[in-house]
Amino acid sequence: MYLRLDYQSGEAIYRQIVEQIKYKVASGELKAMDRLPSIRELAKQLKINPRTVVKAYEELQSGGLVVMRQGQGVFITAKEPEIPAAVRERIIAELARRMLAEASRIGANQEEVLAIVKRILDEMRAVG
C-alpha cells in the first residue's frame, strides 16, 4: 500500500493516513476483507512512530472502515466511509475557496486552475 506523506501540509500525519485509506476504499483500490499492513510494518515503511499508526487505525476502526483483530491483522470492512454530503461539500468548498484566492493573487485564470486540478487528479489515479 503506497501512502504519500506531506510534512508541510498543515495536516497531522495520522489524518493523512486516515484520509488516504478512505480514498483508497472509495476508489476501489482497497476492498472489503483486504488486509492492511500491521502497525509495525506501516510505521517502518513510513518512518513514523508506531503510535501514529495506531491512532490512524483506531480512527478508521471507530468510523467502521477497518477492524483490528488481535493477532490476525487489520482488515477493511465492507462499509463505505460515511461523511454526510453537507459536511463533505463544506470541506471541499473551503479548500477550493482558499486555492482560488491564492491562484488569483498570482494571476492564474479559471481555466488554468481547472486544468491543473484535472492533471493532478489524473496523476493521483495513475499512482493509486
Binding site: 510534512y7 508541510q8 501540509s9 498543515g10 495536516e11 497531522a12 500525519i13 495520522y14 509495525r40 510505521a43 517502518k44 518512518k47 513514523i48 512512530n49 508506531p50 503510535r51 501514529t52 482558499r98 484566492a101 491564492e102 493573487r105
Partner: protein, 312 residues
Amino acid sequence: MSEITIKTENLGRDYGSLRALEGANLEIERGRVVALLGPNGAGKTTFLHIVMGLLEPTCGKAWLLGADSRSLPSRIASQIGYMGDGDEPPRWTTAEQLIGLQAGACGNFEKAFAKKFLAKLGLSLKSSFGALSKGQKKWVRAALVLAGKPQVLVLDEPAEGLDPSARRSLYDELRDYVTDSDATAIVATHIIADIERVADDVAIINKGHVVTYSALEQLREQVREIQLPAEEKMLGLDEGTDVLGSREVPGGGSLIWVRCSEDGQGDLERIAGERGIVRPVGLETFYLAMTEHNGNAIIEKERSDGHIQQTE
C-alpha cells in the same frame, strides 16, 4: 506505556557570568524521537551534556531513566549512545579495528549490526578512519553508537557533512532503531528538513530558554502563517491564539505566525480578510518564527495599538 526517559526540572547552567541555560522543563517519553533545535550557542549542547551527566547543572535537576544525572550509575550510563563533536579515533585505525575496540568496551555490542551498517554506505572494513570524508566518519561513528544497542540516543549534529541521500538514510536508520528497540532519541541539529520527517517531538532552545516543546503532530495542525498586504491590520485575534512571531515582507506587507486550536482556524481566515492568506507552515518556518522573528517590531506595534491581544 508512557515511561519517561529524560526529565528535567527548572534546569539551568551558568558559565561564569554567562547564563547558558535557564528554567528548562522537559519530559521525554520512551519511544520518541525528539528534535532539539536552536541557533548556535543557544544552549543545546549544554542541555545534552547535563542530561548525560557530563556537566553539573547550576540549578534544577535532570533525570535519565529515573536516575539523577549528577550521579548516574554505570548500568544507566552504559545505556547512553552518544555521538557528538568529541574525540576522533586515531587516523590509522581501520573501521574493523574500531568495531573490535568498541565490542570490547561495550557489553551489548553487536558486531554484525555494525558491519551491516557500514555496508549500507559501501564502506570497507579495511578503510582507515583518517582517509574517510567527514560524512563517512559520521556514518562510522553512528554505526559504533547504534551497534552498542543503547536505550537512549543522544546525537549532536549526527548528519553534518553527509550528502542528502546519506542524511536521509541515517535518519531512516535512526527511526527504525527507535521503533525496533523502543529506545528514545534526542537529536540536536540545524538540518531541519530531514529531522522533520522522522521526529515525534520538537524542542526549541533560544538564548538559554526552551521556547517550545511540543509534539510535531500538534504543530502541524495548529501553526499557521498569515500573509497580509501592507495596509492591512490584524484585527481581533482572540485570546486562544498565540502570536509566535512576525516579519515584514520586502515590498510591503507582513507575515505573522500564530498557533491556535483547530476550532480557531476558521476565525483566522475571517480575520485575515479578503486580501490576507492563511497557510500551513513546515518546521523550518516555525523554527525561524520562534527564534529569529520572535518578538518582532510588527507584533509589538500591533499589540500597543490594541490589534493583537497579549496571550500570556
